[in-house]
């Protein structure tokens, strides 16, 4: 394994100081399910690894802050699944968290780490995008709140500065119930990475938010404000034309080993139609599997 110095600060200020001093040579360690693989295969070569789990200000909690839920950087997927507020108010996020890896992985992998790793296939990225998540990052210049739509650049690259690290992800709690769902396609059941991911959230005014991943360098959020996608009376032809337009930014890599671009684009359309249908049933209070 690549050699590094292991630091475990107990105060947020000490962690901030470590990143101010080491910049890009420091890497935060939360769950480690991506980082430790990278340290072992040499794709991650930090001089310093900063374990965030001993920081007093970053307990693994999901706290209510006014009309927001604040998911600490140390919250793992299993914590999300155990949280009734997440399951009831953000079901697409719970569905995505349940799809990550295995029990063993979900007991370690954090939501913040899933986002910071910036895989185009990151399961929690689409639901966090449709729910309007904000990433909270800290450095010695202070705290920055970055809308998730401004966070992803391309695989493995985010808009975080090298002296910053993520302390929390914040979610605005919906004022009225949404109909939402998360769908994914994989080569096989179990803990394969996704070939296509898609989340959909429809509100009472008929605004449809769709976010899709694994079909380009970064997950993408698109919005249909016309209300036609959520219109139960609109024909499939009309809806498919809208979806085609919303999916126009999808550009799957021809070099991926998981699926061809043709397959991914076809499945994106299938998932889009299915997600709108399921989200509408759920908006009406119905129970419908994704």
């Amino acid at each position: 394994m690549h050699r590094f110095v292991y630091e475990r600060p107990e105060a947020l200020a000490d962690a901030v100081e470590l990143f101010a001093r080491h910049g890009a040579a420091a890497r935060p360690l939360a769950g480690g399910t991506d980082l430790i693989i990278g340290l072992r295969d040499g794709s991650a070569r930090p001089a310093v690894v900063v374990d965030l789990k001993r920081i007093a200000e970053l307990p693994p909690t999901i706290e209510e802050q006014g009309s927001w839920l604040r998911i600490s950087a140390t919250v793992v997927m299993s914590d999300l699944l155990a949280d009734a507020r997440i399951r009831h108010e953000f079901p697409a996020l719970a569905e995505a968290a349940a799809a990550v890896g295995s029990v063993q992985i979900r007991n370690r992998a954090t939501v913040a780490g899933n986002i910071c790793n910036a895989s185009p296939a990151a399961d929690t990225a689409p639901p966090l995008l449709v729910y309007g998540a904000v990433v909270v990052a800290v450095s010695d210049a202070g705290t920055r709140r970055i809308p998730l739509t401004d966070f992803f650049v391309r695989s493995g690259v985010t808009t975080l500065r090298s002296d910053e690290f993520v302390t929390a992800i914040e979610l605005p709690r919906p004022s009225a119930p949404l109909g939402a769902v998360h769908l994914r396609r994989t080569r096989r059941r179990g803990h394969d990475l996704a070939s296509v991911t898609l989340s959909c959230a429809i509100d009472r005014d008929g605004v449809t938010r769709l976010a899709y991943g694994s079909v380009g360098p970064r997950p993408i959020l698109v919005v249909d404000e016309s209300g036609r996608l959520a219109d139960r009376g609109a024909s499939d032809t009309v809806k498919e034309a809208i979806l085609d337009r919303l999916f126009s930014a999808a550009s799957p890599s021809p070099r991926s080993m998981r699926a061809s671009p043709e397959y991914r684009l076809a499945m994106l359309r299938v998932l889009g139609r299915r997600a709108v249908r399921v989200a509408l049933v759920r908006l009406d209070g119905g129970v419908q599997d994704g």
Partner: protein
């Protein structure tokens, strides 16, 4: 660089004070420092589950945890499942149902299945499959493993 880290960790009920390298994983600590070789070093990327142990009440892939991270924690390995040599009911059902062929994945399967039954005492087949999705068996004993877990849940003799 390479400075060792002092940790204290309770493994299978026994408190241990150890010096660990920053690069050592929990799996390295268990196998190389403590001689607990029931946890297997196999894929080392968190896919096969052969290194599954319980850490602070939750199962993890010990190949993806640094030894330094477990300071102050509590670990249970396959060796701690039957400390006095008397097999658990789940282990007995694995034997009854032929859920062990080569045996390499068995420690991880047992750790995951023990965790599953603690969380969901009467799982459905789908819940067993989901609970054990992180444990691969290349002999292909999945049917027998699932039967053994369901039998243990039913208290079948």
């Amino acid at each position: 660089m390479g400075e060792t880290i002092q940790i204290v960790v309770t493994v299978n009920g026994r408190r241990r004070a150890l010096d660990v390298e920053p690069t050592a994983t929990l799996l390295d600590l268990l196998r190389d420092d403590l001689g607990l070789t029931g946890s297997k070093a196999c894929c080392l990327v968190g896919e096969c589950g052969a290194c599954t142990v319980r850490l602070n009440g939750r199962i993890v892939d010990s190949c993806l945890v640094l030894a330094a991270e477990v300071d102050g924690g509590e670990v249970m390995t396959i060796e701690g499942l039957a400390p006095d040599g008397r097999l658990t009911a789940l282990q007995e059902r694995f034997l009854d149902h032929g859920a062990v062929q080569c045996g390499y994945c068995t420690p991880g399967q047992l750790m995951a299945a023990t965790d599953l039954l603690a969380r969901i005492p009467h799982p459905t087949v789908a819940e067993v499959e989901e609970g054990l999705a992180g444990n691969l068996c290349r002999c292909g004993c999945y049917v027998q493993i699932t039967e053994a877990v369901l039998a243990a849940a039913e208290g079948e003799r």
